[in-house]
């Protein structure tokens, strides 16, 4: 028995991830190399985004032995100009699993910064080499670490640490890992290329093991606004989440021990003075406005118990039964349980019951959710069939479910606050698409923010046609939170929507030179797998994608029909230029004339007419 128990206890998070590395995208040398690249590049971009720095990310992959056959060890280095990591955090950040700075409800590429640690872990397992981290937060001093990860203990082992003077701020991480660049190469190049499309404000450089250099300079000179951390939206939030929020919204009855009594006395300015019950109450009434909540609660209790500090120190509050207006307590002096009735006329009644039962429904809604004001909250209460002043703590289970259902059904909530999201914006997206694909036609759209299960999301899309785009489209470039999604296309919601579209209706036929870029931003992208490559088909997301696509398709159709007309006119002009001279020759001989008719006039007229 005891040995089994031991085994359970000894699995550290590091070991857990090690054993389940397939889930995180480290299933084989090909996939692992690609995932490691992604994790480091995305960490760098996230760090820069958060500090409003135009990212300049340098990625390099070098084979340890260039002549060995794949799979083989590679040295992967990612260097950025971001804020860096403070020296004291470096070992923990890179040497433990589950140490991250990315908690909270806002959009970021990765959630908890786990992936990078996984990559380090994978590198260490496959090559037994340490990770090299160089970090400078001030652009003057750089800390250089050589770390190993103690998998069993989930602890960093610092092999070397020294500092150096530098001129640039930023972070550089270098690991050695087993990879298969022969197979992963094209995906990694695609990844870098597609990342630079959705991050047009970043400069990204990639040195590949074969000596090729890929450089993508920044195209736009504005950063999209950085996302902020915000409250959830009411739509689609579930019962469990409400229950958790309610726990926060209710206040505990303060434990009335000596320390608490000491604090109350101090706050009332009675630290060394003994007053009677009424004296204390008078003093409290005068100082009420300056008192903290727990102190107020103690005073309220005293008002019902009608006790001074001395008596108060000899009782234990057992329960406050608000519906039955009873207060139960244990009197140590008498050694017996006692009950008193709570008089609702007592001016402190509200203070006490409010504490026990938490906020009113309207206060709960306005404080805990985004975009709900007092009037909306009252309207909602009416809609859901609750009294606005209903205390959250008094809700039964059935009422909770009813509340949750109503929150989803009520249609007058404003759409979620997208300030926690960081879409790229229409202008940078269009610039990126134009620069990358050099199309004849380009249109972009950013849909209004929406929500699924309480998580806000924004869909932005671009469509491009013709120009230098290769035929065989639509070529779909999928992004989620500025990450390109390259694997598992088939099961993705974007592809589903694209395939459902009848392109012929929009005058797009055959193998069109046609690109579609979709970007879903959310505080939580509903990925189907841990590998983060395909987005699940949530109806809310599917709907926004569909509407966005329809909007763009209509624009494309308008362009296509204009283009068709222009092509037609050109074709016709060519036809006239080809056939009219022939007709002219034939009719000249046929009519027995020697000079050809003046048909050129007709050619010119026709062309100018069609140009209009």
């Amino acid at each position: 028995m005891s040995s089994i128990k031991e085994k359970f206890n000894q699995i550290s998070p590091s070991e857990f991830f090690y054993r389940n590395r397939d889930l995180a995208g480290f299933s084989n040398p090909t996939r692992s190399l690609y995932t490691a690249v992604r994790e480091f590049v995305e960490n760098s971009l996230d760090a820069c985004d958060q500090k409003g720095i135009f990212p300049d990310v340098h990625l390099s992959i070098k084979a340890v032995d260039p002549d060995a056959p794949d799979p083989k060890p590679y040295i992967l280095t990612v260097k950025d100009n971001g804020p860096g990591i403070e020296s004291k955090h470096v070992p923990l950040a890179f040497g433990t699993v589950l140490y991250g700075s990315k908690f909270g409800l806002k959009q970021a590429r990765g959630m908890f910064g786990l992936g990078a640690t996984m990559a380090i872990l994978y590198g260490q397992i496959t090559t037994n080499k340490p990770v090299y981290v160089k970090s400078s937060t001030d652009g003057k001093i750089q800390d250089e670490f050589e770390l190993l990860l103690d998998i069993q203990k989930n602890k960093p082992v610092i092999l070397k640490h020294n500092t150096k003077e530098v001129t640039k701020r930023g972070l550089s991480v270098s690991i050695c890992l087993e990879g298969d660049y022969a197979k992963a190469g094209s995906k990694i190049k695609d990844y870098v290329y597609e990342t630079s499309l959705i991050t047009p404000y970043a400069t990204i450089t990639f040195d590949d093991p074969k000596g090729e250099k890929f450089h993508y300079s920044k195209i736009v000179n504005e950063m999209p606004p950085a996302p902020t951390i915000i409250r959830p939206h009411a739509h689609g939030i579930d019962v469990e989440t409400i229950r958790r929020m309610m726990v926060e919204s209710q206040f505990e009855i303060p434990n009335i021990d000596d320390m608490m009594i000491e604090k109350v006395r101090k706050d009332l300015g009675l630290a060394k003075k003994n007053l009677t019950f009424t004296g204390i109450m008078d003093k409290a009434a005068k100082r009420w406005k300056t008192l903290s909540r727990p102190v107020r609660v103690v005073i309220s209790l005293m008002s019902f118990l009608e006790m001074d500090f001395d008596k108060l120190s000899k009782v234990r509050i057992d329960d406050i039964d608000v519906p039955n207006k009873k207060l139960y307590y244990w009197d140590f002096g008498d050694s017996q349980a006692k009950t008193i009735d709570l008089d609702s006329d007592n001016p402190y009644y509200k203070q006490l019951t409010g504490t026990v039962q938490g906020e009113t429904l309207t206060a709960f809604l306005t404080k805990r959710f985004q975009r709900i004001g007092p009037s909306t909250a009252v309207k909602f209460a009416e809609f859901a069939g609750f009294k606005p002043e209903k205390r959250m703590g008094s809700l039964t289970n059935e009422e909770l479910v009813k509340l949750s259902d109503s929150l989803q059904k009520f249609e007058d909530f404003l759409s979620p606050d997208p300030s926690c999201l960081a879409p790229l914006g229409e202008e940078p997206l269009e610039k990126g698409i134009r620069k990358f694909f050099k199309p004849d036609f380009c249109a972009v759209v950013q849909r209004p923010a929406s929500a699924y299960s309480g998580f806000p999301f924004v869909v932005e899309m671009g469509i491009a046609y013709g120009g230098e785009i290769r035929p065989g489209g639509p070529h779909v470039y999928r992004y989620a939170n500025r990450i390109p999604l390259l694997y598992d296309e088939g099961s993705d919601v974007v592809l589903k929507v694209v395939h459902d579209t009848d392109w012929a209706r929009y005058k797009v036929k055959g193998e069109p030179p046609f690109v579609l870029v979709t970007h879903i931003c959310s505080t939580r992208i509903p990925y189907k797998t841990v590998g983060k490559e395909n987005v699940a088909d949530r109806p809310e997301i599917e709907r926004e994608l569909r509407l966005g696509l329809q909007f763009l398709s209509r624009k494309l159709a308008a362009y296509m029909s204009k283009r068709g007309q222009a092509e037609m006119a050109k074709k016709r002009a060519n036809l006239y230029a080809k056939y009219l001279p022939l007709i002219s020759t034939f009719c000249t001989e046929l009519s027995g004339k020697t000079k050809e008719p003046n048909y050129k006039k007709l050619l010119e007229e026709e062309i100018t007419v069609d140009d209009k």
């Binding site: 056939y579 009719c587 001989e589 027995g592 007709l602």
Partner: protein, 368 residues
Amino acid sequence: MTTNKIKDRKQKAKVKQQNIIDALKDHGAKVYGDLDNGQFPKFSIPSRSVSNIVYDKKLRQYILGNSAAVRSSRNSSQLRSFTQLMWLAFFANRLTQEKKSSTLRDVYYSSQAFAIEFEDQSESDNIIVDLEAVLSKPREDFHIFPEERSSIFGDLNIEYTIPGYEGKKMNLSNHPDGYAIGPSLTTAELLDTSAEIVIAIEKGGLFTRFVEEQVDKKFKSIIINTGGQAPRSTRTLLKRLHDELGLPVIILTDGDVYGEHIAMVIKSGSANAAHLRELTVPDAKWVGVWATDIEKFKLPTIPMTESDIKRCYDLQNDPRYQEGIWKKELDVFLKIKRKAELEAFSKYGLTNITDKYLPQKLELAKSL
């Protein structure tokens, strides 16, 4: 035949030739004028769609109704075929002026010398029919002739009009294999004949038999082998023999539904040629082999095929098969569902057809 009449006919032929040239020139001048005035030229072409083909009881043939399609050079989808038609008019003019002859296939290839593209021969064939419709003249009039596969034999004197042979005369009984009915014969002057009837026969084998058995002399006839469905030059010649020399025409075909229709086409034309009116011999008589002859002459038969039967039903809807022997024989064919070829008479001896059957039918023809 008096010299006057011959002169008269020569004159007529010349006028006909001139009419074609004038008509072509008129169209050319109109197109020229349009172009010179900054207008897109166009042709009005009588519609040959099924809905515009009607049977004219008086003329006893199919004719085109009044609807016509405009082919405009402005319309980019018609420009190509407009140019093709224009080229053909130009080419026909050259052929006629230079008295050269051409064929459908020949025209298809000739186009390539002028940077005119035809997808295939059927496209150029269609344009030729378009020009026929525009001019209301058969293509033979502008020197585009069918491939030769029919022939003629009998005491008929002709005089060639084609370049290099002008004035040369010929008697068509000098060569026992007969004479191919080509452009030179179709355009030749028909001088005189001792024959009193024209016998058109569907098959080459029987034609040879008839020559051997001296049907031309025994029955004072001109024998024509139509080689199956009579080509248009043959139909033109039949018409000229009937109209110019006043000879009655009788037709002998296989005893089946196709034979019956070969006779009908000679008599009243086909829907395909509804735009033309000079290809029919309305007085021509089909004398056999009738369905009723099969029983009467106890001919060996073969069963009708599915397509034979289908063809019978198709023809039952044709207005020309609604009365007389046409209807009667068709009904009998459908009833007995058997057919007999001309060669079937050989069961009773090689000369049975000329000795027994033909005289009977010639006698009968007088009363038809």
